[in-house]
Amino acid sequence: MEIQDIIRPENKVYSAPELLDQNVHMHYCPGCSHGVIHKLLAEVIAEMGLAEKTVGVSPVGCAVFAYNYIDVDWVEAAHGRAPAVATAISRLWPEDVVFTYQGDGDMSAIGTAESIHAANRGENIVMVFVNNAIYGMTGGQMAPTTLVGQKTATTPYGRRVDLNGHPLEITNLMAILDGTCYVTRQSVHTPANVRKTKAALKKAFQNALDKKGTSVVEVVATCNSGWKMSPEKANEWMAEHMFAKYPLGDLKDVK
């Protein structure tokens, strides 16, 4: 059988999500995990039929231009204030599904207060937290989630506990709050993990539809440019080092 006979519309089993604008070139570095997470969000929103009633809140960080890529309504928040903006939107538009898309600088550094209090109030929002253990956009400085011993632009000899403190597991903090209904930690470095992350996002959006409270989906991600590695080496490094500190799986799932 020739390739032309296989490549026919009736045989198509996987295509790019419609909500992800194919004509807009994503600015992310080659191999960046953000692209996969954008793709999964676009797929989940389309499959659940929520394209017309979803509002995203984009952060400050690498994902600041997320509103250019996924064709739903978006609001750009000040740095770290995405959960506060999302709180307002979800209270004013209770029928809409509101999600925030935040990096580790946005959620676990400048926006810690907003994130924890939005989760503690049990706001009916979905928080997508992309944890790549580094400040990617500003040039690879240490983030609160940077691992002990990890080299960054501001910790060239590795992060030291006596000087820089311990890595912050903010997702674990969210899990002990009564306002959260679903807290999970996933990854997108293999096809199986991509499928699991998609299922987790679907569940989080369903929770928002069911008005169950705050859902937090952490995605342990790579920043191959910041880590100074090739994309596949970054995935290997993440599996070897990041998962020891940030183990994958559900932290909380209220029935």
Partner: protein, 76 residues
């Protein structure tokens, strides 16, 4: 026994040559172009061994730029 044959298309101009699809492919179907580049100068992915493709979608799932589409047929 029915055999599965697959094929992929790559949106060449969107591909950034990150190599993640090549690593994810279980049948070594894909490679990056050694000499050819797209308009942005990236060595884009292509099917170097198209007969091996089983249409499993692994490449498309891990592709960060959503530039891979997958086709699959059953051959009797």
């Amino acid at each position: 026994m029915a055999k599965i044959k697959g094929a992929v298309t790559v949106n060449v101009e969107r591909c950034k040559g990150c190599n993640l699809c090549v690593v994810a492919c279980p049948t070594d179907t894909l490679s990056l172009q050694a000499n050819e580049v797209n308009d942005r100068g990236y060595h884009y992915a292509y099917m170097s061994n198209p007969d091996a493709c089983i249409g499993c979608c692994s490449c498309a799932l891990v592709c960060p730029d959503a530039c891979i589409e997958v086709y699959r047929v059953k051959v009797d």
